[in-house]
Symmetry: none
């Protein structure tokens, strides 16, 4: 029943307070009963800490967009932060570029890139592996170095490349004349066995035509450079985007906000929304919880992102998802020990192991704060969906709940 945007009213009602809010996103947390266990990973996992928290928390389940819609990580996170997940779009290019710590300037156009494997058939490039067998990160670095040294600019537009993990990279096109546009189609056909798509302008703006032309020239050069490489003999580009104009989270909600995430994409989303980032000593839960503890006094809102639940779900690996949940459970009490006024534990979407992909199912949601009913025997999908006091609700209301329970909202009218 997602309909209106709560943000406008919240912006009017927020009031400062010294309460602390923590949002833990266990990526892809939600799941469905899976044979042969006929349980979800969250039901199957031994989670004494999550379960003890359920005794004193409010439970419910969230729908990121609306019933039946499977969200990407962008809309999934936007909704949790109170942004309209359909009307507001953060494209892949900018998420990756920012997440990889590239500096993006106004007028730049960013792209998400994949090294890939293609075969020529009748003059067409057919994608045989979109990820080039997930080449080692080290090889990725070498290839990007080579491409960067051979392609510095095209038609006066600077080409900036940066390696990511495995097959991933990000690209920025920077025009000193600011004559570029992000209205360019993807070249990634999203399926193996299909031909690479031609970058085409998506509107009548001459800048879009020009940008498409530059991308075409770039790809032709890359193909020459990589022709004899194996398996990474080409690249796919998608998610062209400039710097989006999105209301800034800290300003809208009057919250000093810190993102504690290890993956580029989630770091990118958080940066676009205006979150600060802290320096992680280690790229794991231990490092994340340590940063949370150290930054406790300097921020009001903490977004802690944990990726491994989703990764296991995407791999269809039930027991790996169980382990990922159990691993988080071990660190939960370190978070609880900080005594946040509101602690929410949920996911950005479901990733059912039987799908090996994101799903549309509601995501279990637990909110710990004063003044809830609580009394639940455990934290899992079944209990959240069937007996949660918060019901099943659109994820976009997460922020109004967190603000309300942390006493950061004034009364609405007399």
């Amino acid at each position: 029943m997602l309909v209106e945007e709560p943000m406008e009213l919240l912006r009017e009602l927020v009031q400062p307070n010294d309460t602390k809010l923590v949002l833990v996103v266990l990526d892809g947390l939600g799941d469905v009963p899976t044979p042969p266990w006929n349980e979800t990973p969250l039901e199957h996992a031994k989670t004494p800490n999550l379960d003890s928290l359920a005794k004193v928390s409010a439970l419910g389940a969230i729908e990121p967009v609306f019933k039946g819609i499977t969200p990407g990580s962008g809309p999934g996170h936007l909704a949790l932060f109170g942004y309209h997940p359909i009307k507001i779009e953060i494209k892949r290019g900018i998420m990756e570029a920012l997440g990889m710590d590239m500096e993006v300037k106004p007028g730049d156009v960013t792209f998400r890139g994949n090294f890939s494997t293609v075969e020529e058939h009748n003059g067409k490039l057919i994608v045989t592996d979109r990820r080039a067998g997930r080449i080692p990160t080290e090889l990725n670095r070498k290839l990007i170095e080579r491409i960067s040294s051979e392609i510095k600019e095209i038609d006066g537009v600077k080409v900036i490349l940066k390696s990511g993990i495995e097959h991933r990279f990000a690209m920025i096109l920077r025009d000193p004349q600011k004559g570029l546009s992000d209205q360019i189609s993807d070249t990634d056909p999203q399926k193996e066995g299909k031909p690479v798509l031609d970058p085409t302008p998506l509107d009548d703006n001459p800048a879009s035509k020009r940008t498409a032309e530059i991308v075409r020239k770039f790809l032709a050069k890359v193909r020459e450079i990589l022709r004899d490489e194996k398996p990474a003999n080409y690249v796919l580009l998608r998610g062209a985007s400039g710097v989006p104009h999105i209301p800034q989270f800290p300003e809208v909600y009057k919250l000093r906000a810190l993102a504690i995430a290890t993956y580029p994409m989630y770091r990118g989303i958080a940066k676009i929304l205006g979150f600060d980032e802290g320096k992680l000593e280690s790229q794991d839960l231990e490092g994340q919880v340590k940063l949370l503890r150290e930054a406790w006094r300097d921020y009001d809102f903490f977004f802690l992102h944990y990726k491994y639940t989703d990764k296991a779900g995407e791999d269809g690996n039930f027991l790996a998802k169980v382990r990922a949940i159990e691993e988080f459970d071990k660190y939960l009490m370190d978070i609880v020990a900080l005594d946040p006024d509101v602690l929410v534990i949920t996911g950005d979407h479901s990733t059912p192991c039987i799908y090996k992909a994101h799903g549309f199912q509601p995501v279990p949601y637990m909110l710990k704060a004063n003044g809830v009913f609580g009394g639940y025997p455990a934290f899992n999908e079944r209990i959240c969906l069937l007996t949660g006091e918060l019901g099943i609700f659109p994820a976009i209301y997460n922020m109004s709940l967190m603000l309300a329970y942390s006493k950061r909202l004034k009364k609405f009218r007399a």
Copy 2:
């Protein structure tokens, strides 16, 4: 979750019938588990009649605005009557003036007033008590009499004052030339320790500037009159408003509608929506139920408002709230005995005792009519939230439910 406005469709679908509908609003009914009982007042109260009704009623919980939003009484009631609680606004001035039985004419501007205590610091008036220690109603009357005799008009605009209970009063500015505007800011800073605000025009209309000027002159004169009074040495004004244009309840729903309320504010809201008012023999539940009985044949829809649940919640007095609920429970069977086709018992918002203020929590909702599931052991928050057959839903749908169960809605299309 609040979504769209059902009123337009309802208006199209309503059909006459001779069914009787009763809406009982136990103001501020909803609450949360409260130490040391770890129960809500509704759970703690001995309510044999409410509980027996739960066996044959549908239960659920309503959200007046949307998750996390704490509504004032205005939006809380508007939603119950099927009006959009954000888009439709009834301001404080007109609610109070009508509730105090003042006659309001088109072109008038009404204000809600408080006697208050101020101190002068460096030429500024600092509010030290917004309610002047809730002065006795008798003193209020005397002061209003004095002010009224000394200020009859300002710049040709008539000043009409009326005493309320304790520190409250209402004011009407009436200009024979109809040259006034209600786009004037409040002078009440809403917090003690802050300076009184200057009445300022909220738009470019010259009438707004003129009205602000008249209010300024009025306040200067009042200050002269009250300077040596203790503790009521000044007044605060808020909620400037003309007669609002709001769809009339009896016309929209084709219901002859009677309001049975004792407090000015709720009587005011009901009048603005077009409810009739009956004459109460006594300002208590006995008087209210008596009027309900006597008016039974002449009306279709009865709105019965009970204030004491909210009052106890605002005082943070758990046991007083328990008693207020038990007091209502005693009269419940007198209402049931009239055999209404639909009887709804709910609140306009929560007023958790631990907050001593309105809250955002969903409000328990009970609907007695033919064709429900029922079978609940009691009527309280936990049972309504966790097991209610109506789920948790926006309060704006109360009217469509009441109309549907009373067979006053046609089928929607073929």
